[in-house]
């Protein structure tokens, strides 16, 4: 029997880590992810986990410690947010290029400045090209479920890449929700034991990790890395199927909400999908064929799934909870438009920047977006390249 509980997103992820009982956790506290290393430290102090906790002096060091321990053959995990993730930037690439399947809980928070501790996606979106998988949760249940799946996905023999399990800071990480936890023995059986093919502490084999790569080899190694990211799509789907068989909860690259006959859609990531779904329901009740696409997996990018989901849609709003400062929109907007270019005909695609630095995203905001999209479709006008949602001006 599944365990009914009421937990915050941080508690849920910490509980998942306790159930998995990894070999190493190396972490440095930063709001709003601080509770995760705090709870894990308490579990270890209480004798509920046998994990080695490495209290490091910075996030650059926490990621470095995870890289070292994962290369040594130890399943390693960490958690961070915002500037902490930014401080890991250099090491994120090392973890990915060395093909080390570290699992990191990212509790999304705005990057400074102006200094702000609240939620948006600027931190993980800033690290979107680091070679990590990125899987985003809408709520605490998904944060828990995703984290458990992320361990398997990263460690899959055809993938071997690190994974960020993202949830929205405070909105998901600190709000307490009812959720279903999986029995610990089932979690342990699901993730299995970490058995890397090659690891530094193997006394029977010689190994050097992270050697200098000359121009004659670097590009072939990057090609292998990008192929591993492509392989992750299959692994994500396979592992989601196994997870569904265990829990009944279904996961994929995307979640399509009332998209079957939708004429207008929003594409959104994370907790704001909740407000988005409510807006869709209200519009449906008013006779508007609205739908929502929640991007669960951002890396690898769900390009084929997006093309399939948007084929019959007249107008779409792509919602970015970060600005890339390209002066041409946000990263999700740019990538969705690139994915559908030449593959989806006659669609009106608008890009919105919303919810920065913890700005509330309300049902009426999403309804406003749907209204604007419908108006553009009706008048045949081209949308602005991108715009800020609900901005004072």
């Amino acid at each position: 029997m599944a365990i009914n509980e009421r937990l915050s997103g941080n508690e849920a992820v910490s509980f998942a880590i306790k159930q998995i009982n990894p070999d190493v956790v190396a972490a440095y506290p930063i709001t709003p992810s601080t509770e995760i290393p705090q709870f894990i430290s308490q579990y270890i102090a209480n004798g509920e986990m046998t994990t080695v906790y490495v209290p490091v002096e910075s996030e650059h060091s926490s990621m470095s410690a995870c890289i070292g321990s994962e290369a040594a053959g130890a399943r390693s995990m960490t958690a961070t947010s915002s500037c902490g993730l930014a401080y890991m930037f250099e090491m994120l690439y090392i973890a990915a290029s060395n093909r080390l399947p570290i699992t990191m809980a990212v509790v999304n928070r705005a990057l400074s400045g102006p200094i702000n501790i609240n939620n948006d996606h600027s931190d993980s979106m800033g690290a979107r090209d680091a070679g990590w998988l990125q899987i985003y949760a809408e709520n605490a249940q998904e944060a828990y479920d995703n984290f458990i799946q992320c361990v398997r996905i990263g460690e899959h023999k055809d993938v071997k890449l690190p994974v960020m399990a993202c949830q929205d800071g405070f909105i998901t990480s600190h709000a307490v929700e009812r959720l279903e936890l999986i029995e610990t023995d089932k979690v342990k059986a699901f993730v299995g034991e970490y058995k890397p093919e090659k690891y530094l502490l193997n006394p029977d084999e010689i190994l050097a990790v992270g050697p200098y790569d000359t121009p004659q080899y670097y590009m072939e190694h990057k090609k292998a890395q990008t192929e591993a990211m492509k392989n992750a799509r299959k692994a994500i789907k396979e592992i989601a199927k196994e997870f569904e068989a265990m829990t009944g909860r279904k996961y994929d690259m995307l979640e399509e909400y009332r998209m079957d006959d939708a004429e207008y859609a929003v594409i959104i990531i994370g907790s704001s999908a909740g407000a988005g779904k409510e807006a869709v329901d209200e519009l449906r009740n008013a006779g508007v064929k609205a739908g929502l696409i929640k991007v669960r997996v951002f890396r690898p990018f769900p390009d084929e799934e997006l093309v399939a989901a948007l084929k019959k849609v007249k107008g779409v709003a792509i919602m970015d909870k970060t600005d890339s400062f390209s002066a041409a929109g946000g990263p999700l907007g740019a990538e969705v438009k690139a994915a559908i270019y030449g593959k989806v005909d006659g669609i009106t695609a608008a890009n919105y920047i919303y919810g920065l630095g913890g700005r509330d995203v309300r049902v009426e905001h999403i309804k406003q977006v749907f209204e604007e999209i419908a108006e553009l479709v009706k008048t045949g006008k081209a949308p602005e390249t991108y715009k800020y949602l609900a901005i004072r001006e």
């Binding site: 290029s97 080390l100 084999e205 050097a208 050697p211 080899y217 072939e220 292998a224």
Partner: protein, 102 residues
């Protein structure tokens, strides 16, 4: 991925046959990395002037002066980068540098 691919990996190797992350499944193999083609000037060992004092051997940053039975031999041009330190320390002018190809 096979073990000990080290010897088979070369600039013609396809990406599928490289080790993940460029891992090296061997040790003590720096000699297999030939650095001689970095050289723009080449050392010339003038054996008749050499007194076998061996001052040149420890200053070579690339261990490119082989010593057998207490005597130095001609240069290991697979690894000599042509830095010229050996010629500087030689008291007997037994090492000259000529431009590559001359």
């Amino acid at each position: 991925m096979k073990d000990n691919l080290m010897k088979n990996i070369n600039p013609e190797t396809k990406w599928q046959d490289l080790t993940p992350g460029g891992y090296i499944y061997a040790s003590g193999n720096s000699a297999e990395f030939k650095t001689g083609d970095w050289r723009t000037v080449t050392p010339k060992f003038i054996e008749e002037k050499c007194k076998q004092c061996l001052l040149c051997v420890p200053v070579c940053p690339d261990c490119a002066i082989p010593v057998v039975d207490g005597k130095r031999l001609d240069f290991d041009l697979d690894h000599c980068k042509g830095c010229g330190i050996c010629a500087k320390v030689c008291p007997f002018d037994a090492i000259e540098f000529v431009k590559e190809g001359e």
